[in-house]
Subunit: 337 residues, 4 copies
């Protein structure tokens, strides 16, 4: 961490600031130039607060050199993390395909989709029981009944289930869910993240629409620092100025995460695209980028879906996609599932 | 709402779609052109789901003409809403100044700041007891002890208190808080919004960093549709590409809200600027834009603040700001408080 | 095009507006609802000005249904366009690799790089003679001497040359350049685009940092409407809020262009990434997305490059990249060159 | 400027790098820590290229401490600059109002608007003769005939004229224009900027839609470094994710420019808003923020304007606006004109 002091700062004030910094267990290299004086903070600066430094009127600027996340940082954990899910795992040479409807709507809908995606090679079943919707007038999910139907679909197909939690008050109801999803809008719901750190379940943490990669890793750090190492990151498109696509899939996020962190990362092309025909080309780029999996929306009758029908594949489209996915995963030297 | 059909859509499919739409109590005007066919949906389309329409493969595009929010819409509620707070109100010719520290740190800190801002003319006291922080290693607030100190500061100064809630599980603890703040990161925490709709307390709803104005109004709609009419909107800067300022204060949001909605709107220049010297010029623009108030961070010793010190004014700076604010509020024909 | 009228617009005013629209050779479907009246404009609305419509005080909103570009539109030109370059072409099953230094620095530098990229399989040589630089104090290129060196490198290697034009006054000097590049900052330099429309040379049109895809296609339309059909589009990253990457490669742009337009599209991962190690993973995603080629910066000694050294590959790195590119292009059923 | 070296960089490589830096006339402070080594570059680093430093594989990161612009920098030029325009000036206690039509359409249109805005108190006349339009099918301006009409309007009203240049080839035709405007799309047309640096005319430099404030100041630096000190900056809205406004007026740009630079800065609320009713509230915020002037579109018949009619005021609306502007400029202790 580098602290740039204002020109003409009084020496007594500088000495006092340096003493406060050293009291936090950090060493300082002091460089006095003709136009500016620079303090180089050396050691573990994770706990040194940038805001506190900036508030000093002798400080002109503060620049962090090392990352503010530690447990999510590849520097301190060089090997890839893999997260066990059901009988398989996510990460480390495996390629996961999590497929299913945006929301659970009925027993017949869910079972039909679940059996179809299983037959096509999906490795996990997704389905929303509690739905975060922009409008209070939109369908909000079947709630606990939806969870029950997911459990039934797991019994029938054997697929592990992935579903979204909306509040830490629901943790008991999610006790036997295989992977708990934190949605993009809750990426910085810190009360929820803290509680998820105290369970041992796999957490699928979706990047917020306008969250930086560093913020995503800091949210992962909340879960990791609570003691839960099973975090899977998920990119689902970011908000930009472009209007021809619902969200811009940030494909460069995959190599950046692979360099900065050891956590597995998957891509949700359905939410990024917002439209079914674009799911397949974006899925191809995810595999090529080195992602550890895909999350795909599939509905038995997209045009009657209660939410996100426009971006859902039907089972036949998903089956064709999976044939292509298999070839590509194989090309990359990975194995499905 | 306008539905643009694909070229060459079969008439039988069009008829079926139109029947489904009419079944939702909406009339249709049908325009067949040489290159496209357009359905104009007429009536209350608030409950018609755009996603459902887009999912039909005979639909090329859907454009909403009327706003998806109803209770927050000035069209159906032409008079300005004012929200009673303590002995005063926010909105309708009054100009509120909510001031205080980013976080409650100690009894002496809070009382010192509270008495200073009261003396300078603030109309409400702000202070965070539960703090949403990007890093799990940053100070997270004094929590319930912080709430207790806020109550004490209210007893001493008479100022109504404004503080941030982080989860619907905290509602009982917030029972005697005067204004419950929903932070930018929780603007789309729909579980929380629903519960806040069931209490009658004034809610200060902050716009998310990258939330559109329409999304903000839809989040207000969640609270209003639960039965709580006391919603105050707050702009605190949006996330853009610009790096010289922490967030870009979206000043055009004020006239837009005044046109589209009847709800009062205030500005938080401290969070937008991220740096103390810019608070004053941004506060001036807020008054000129027609905002109903300001939210300002004040700390008795900014350079020792446990959070956001860089953007906090000290009591002397706040007092100078208030002298200028008084002149400007008077110029606009409004009254402080 | 759809025109939504204000509630309570006078019928005489509506009739006058409709007459003006019909005078532009466009038919109107008129839908009167209880809350709004909608005019559906049917026919070729390319020349109808949205601004003119919006300026009418009886108009509430205007929505374009059909695209404002015509010659660049796949709807009116269903077959892929391929652009002849030297003995080969860009588009239609061929995969181009345009490689070379950011800027031409010296004869030995350019020849060394040109021979190396030729040996590794590049299909065109790039190199900047005129450099648009943010700072007036940065190296601005060798200018005409740089063009001369590019011609020499072409003689030696046989590779067609691609280089950036900065003003329409330079067209004579660029007469024997094989592909004229329009840089991101000049994407809306309309004087330049018009002049390029009057020559028959291949034009490589780079997307502006914050230009929408529609704006890019409209800039292509400027060139096409001047009579030059040889336009190649290029994505090089867009400006967003994310700080860990210089620009966010908008990979979804490739499938969108392939759907909306018939023009070939290539990807420049070097400028998007801004850093050499990220070029290779981004290049992989470009091939998987269906792009028609890559543009890659290569320098014989990146750490001494006069510009953009950080993102340049050295010849050995480029050779390794090309081995991977070959395998992937082959996997996609395309041929290099 | 601070250079952070990679861990485990060889000492011989470090020494070589330091020698190259010192050869550029810059001193170095060297700080070796346990986890990183930091070089603090001291002196005039304006000419040191960040890219060159980043390209070294022993460099982990480079951070600029001092600004890359010098002539535009308030640090080296503490007094406000004022730019003489006709008999008056822009900056230093004067408040300019530049008003007129988006484009010059006819003699009667221009004279009618010019006389009206003069009567209402405008200090300069604006009008486009050459129009940069997104579509090649939109009206492109009356070109040289438009310039001639502007000269006539100046003779009739005495108002100095402000009009946009599109290429350096037009400089002769603009020889007697009072203020040459560089449009947002040409902000980084460096050939044009260089040529404008060689004339002595006032240049109104508009910020690009997604240009950072630093990039704007660097473009000003191009003009200043050519020897032309008469640069006026103009903010006209930035491109963000928000859809309810055409561009987001970045009001914080005014205090930032006032702190970082000595150049005058004006606001164009017409282009930011994109709609006439929002011009007035945004104009109020510009005055309150401390801007040196406004640029406002006025048309004698907005609903028949050939461009940007939706955002143009009619003369009566402009006259009401000016009454309010006068009161506010007076309140700020400035004088119109």
């Amino acid at each position: 961490m580098i602290v740039i002091l204002r020109q003409n700062a009084e020496q007594a004030r500088i000495d006092a600031l340096m003493a406060s910094i050293r009291a936090q267990g950090v060493d300082i290299h002091y460089s006095q130039g003709t136009t500016e004086t620079i303090l180089g903070l050396v050691g573990d600066t994770t706990h040194v607060d940038e805001d506190w430094l900036r508030a000093s009127d002798i400080v002109a600027d503060v620049r962090r050199v090392s990352e503010p996340y530690k447990l999510a940082n590849r520097r301190f954990h060089p090997e890839d993390t893999h997260v066990p899910v059901g009988d398989t795992q996510i990460g480390e040479g495996r390629f996961a395909v999590i497929a299913g409807p945006c929301s659970v709507e009925s027993e017949s809908q869910l079972l039909e989709v679940a059996q179809a995606v299983k037959a096509s090679g999906a490795t996990c079943l997704r389905g929303g029981a509690f739905k975060p919707r922009t409008s209070p007038y939109s369908f909000q999910g079947l709630e606990n009944q939806g969870l029950e139907l997911l459990r039934e679909a797991r019994r029938v197909t054997g697929l592990p289930i992935v579903t979204e939690i909306m509040s830490e008050t629901q943790l008991d109801d999610f006790a036997d869910v295989d992977v708990i999803q934190v949605g993009a809008r809750n990426m910085q719901n810190f009360r929820l993240l803290k509680e998820l750190g105290h369970c041992k379940k796999p957490i699928l943490l979706k990047r917020g629409l306008s969250s930086t990669i560093e913020e995503l890793l800091m949210s992962a750090e909340y879960i990791l620092s609570g003691g839960n190492e099973n975090v899977i990151l998920c990119e689902r498109g970011i908000r930009t100025f472009e209007k021809m696509v619902r969200n811009n899939l940030d494909i460069s996020m995959v190599p950046i995460i692979k360099q900065k962190s050891h956590l597995p990362v998957i891509i949700d092309p359905s939410h990024a695209a917002g439209i079914a025909w674009m799911v397949e080309p974006l899925a191809r780029t995810a595999i090529a980028a080195g992602a550890d999996g895909l999350m795909i929306e599939v509905h038995n009758n997209p045009k009657c879906a209660l939410c996100d029908g426009a971006q859902s594949l039907d089972p036949a489209q998903f089956d064709r996609l999976m044939q292509d996915v298999r070839r590509r995963v194989d090309f990359e030297g990975k194995a499905l599932g």
